[in-house]
């Protein structure tokens, strides 16, 4: 019945040589990845409980973006006629939907992650960053099917991946992951103190579909009166999510448009080489922007981790 300590004990260091330390786990994100096994179990729990008792299960994570896609495609593509003017408008839009949907899901489920695990946070000691990080990974798992659809869809319309494009795609997804983790950390912590934050996040989500080039191509913005205003143009491109979306479109959409009509409007042809596609279809320094945004997102992540660490001491009493 009982487990006698010594044979099963996994203690490489004798107790006397272990340091006296504060029991309040404050290892941060580093500690989270040191305890990958727990992280794995938490993610598995989240994925399972999400589709508990539903007949279609994981299939639901295809349906929502698909419905949104169809709706936008019908209204923007067919009613407003963008479908005719822009080659492979569906890919253009879907590449953006994947990025934006990944981000919004990370952000909103991350924000709720500590509150929804309050039974554990109040009573058990563990790195509290575990929950937002698990939310990010769960969102990634839920987004993966969409990425597969995007892959297959792009191949179907003649996508030929090029190395630069693939690098852009990876960079775009990396920006979303790092930024999503940072915001999930920050907002999950602040949500403990004021539940207003989950509503703030929901409100913010209303914008995300409109402030990125998803249902309109980037060149429309760049050539509009607003886009010619340098301040506005720079502000628009200083949104990491916008840059991530542009990078995803560079990866999937641009290679499918080569040689087709529509650059940068009806009548002109896209260049034959993906690398020749430049402004106004894409900002000319899009790769530089991408690396810059990744760096900025990493800085934001460090800052959010610092804020999280300074407020996590009050979680147990405020939940």
């Amino acid at each position: 019945m009982t487990t006698q300590a010594d044979p099963s004990r996994t203690q490489p260091v004798p107790l006397a040589e272990q340091p006296l330390a504060s029991p309040f786990a404050g290892g941060g994100l580093v500690e989270v990845f040191r305890r990958r096994y727990l992280l794995k179990l938490l993610v598995r729990k989240a994925v399972r409980s999400r589709y508990q008792g539903s007949v279609l299960g994981l299939f639901w994570s295809y349906i929502q973006p698909l419905v949104r896609f169809c709706m936008y495609f019908f209204v923007i593509g067919l009613v407003l006629g963008l479908h005719k003017n822009l080659p492979n408008f569906a890919i253009h839009m879907f590449a953006a939907i994947v990025g934006v949907h990944f981000f919004t899901e990370t952000f909103s489920s991350g924000t709720r992650s500590i509150i929804s695990n309050k039974a554990i946070v109040r009573k058990m000691a563990m790195p509290r960053e575990m929950f937002p990080v698990a939310a990010v990974i769960t969102s990634a798992i839920n987004t993966f099917p969409q990425l597969v659809i995007l892959f297959v869809g792009s191949l179907a319309v003649g996508w030929k991946p090029d190395p630069m494009g693939l690098l852009a795609g990876v960079l775009g997804i990396a920006i979303v992951i790092v930024l999503g983790t940072a915001l999930a950390l920050l907002f999950s912590g602040m949500n403990v103190f004021f539940r207003d934050f989950q509503n703030i996040v929901q409100t913010f989500m209303l914008f995300t579909h409109w402030i990125v080039p998803m249902i309109y191509p980037f060149y429309k913005l760049a050539q509009s009166g607003l886009g010619r205003n340098t301040a506005f143009y720079d502000a628009y491109l200083s949104n990491p999510l916008t840059v991530a979306v542009l990078l995803l479109q560079r990866a999937f959409w641009i290679p499918t448009t080569l040689g087709k009509r529509g650059y940068p409007g009806p009548g002109r042809r896209f260049p034959d080489n993906a690398s020749d596609v430049g402004f106004p279809v894409l900002p000319h320094h899009y790769m530089l922007l991408g690396w810059g945004m990744l760096a900025v997102s990493l800085v934001i992540l460090v800052l959010c981790q610092m804020v999280f660490r300074s407020i996590e001491g009050k979680f147990a009493e405020r939940l």
Binding site: L20, S22, F24, R35, L41, K123, A316
Partner: protein
Amino acid sequence: MVVSIVANDASKIFKMRYHRTIKQITIAAMRKQKISDSFLAVNDVSFSIEQGESVGLMGLNGSGKSTLLKLINGVMKPDSGEILTRGRIAGLIATGAGFHAQLTGRDNVYLNAAILGMSEAETNRKFDAIVEFADIGKFLDTPVGNYSSGMFARLGFAVAVHTDSDIFLIDEVLAVGDKPFKQKCLARMQEIRDEGRTMLYVSHAAASVKRMCDRVLVLEKGVLGYDGPVQEGIRYLHYEDSEDDVGTSEGDDSENESDGELGADI
């Protein structure tokens, strides 16, 4: 000797907020009412416990015992002063807190064990012992949401007492299980003590503190009022005259006593 738990002038302040929305706060401010109030749940507590000691933590309701235990457990952080521990901590604190109603008993054992710091191999090795201790039979593979409260608690206990640790904290009513299970728990707790782990035992039951511990800390409104041998500690608390389970059957394993000492935890 190796020091296991140290508290240096540790304090924990709780803030009570009377109003939460802007509207309520504004009205309260206009009426010049207090918006928040704070009190010291743990006030400037210092002590040092050596490895292998078993210490009873006593005090009236609201004296800060559970808060102190949460500080030691690492769920809360002292607002001033420090609390230091050595080695891994486990205990009967909020057992089953990490259970997820929709997961099966089996999945919950693995998840709970992982939160307590066990590796997959360690859990695999102890899984049979845990299941046997919990004694929930065929319900192991059904969601814990369907468990009776006794089964739920037994499973939580089983995981907690099978965690290897250097420090073992106990703060929970043992009144959940049926009689055989209670006795199994007490036996296991004594075993844990005899393994040379540091034990901190929060209880109102003088008899069981007497049996389990060789030192007592008494908290009074957050202040450490007494630190010393068990007998005097219980006298300090004036528990001797009021509690019949101490006076009547001391050191006796009769049914009455074990009922008294288990029930008195409530």
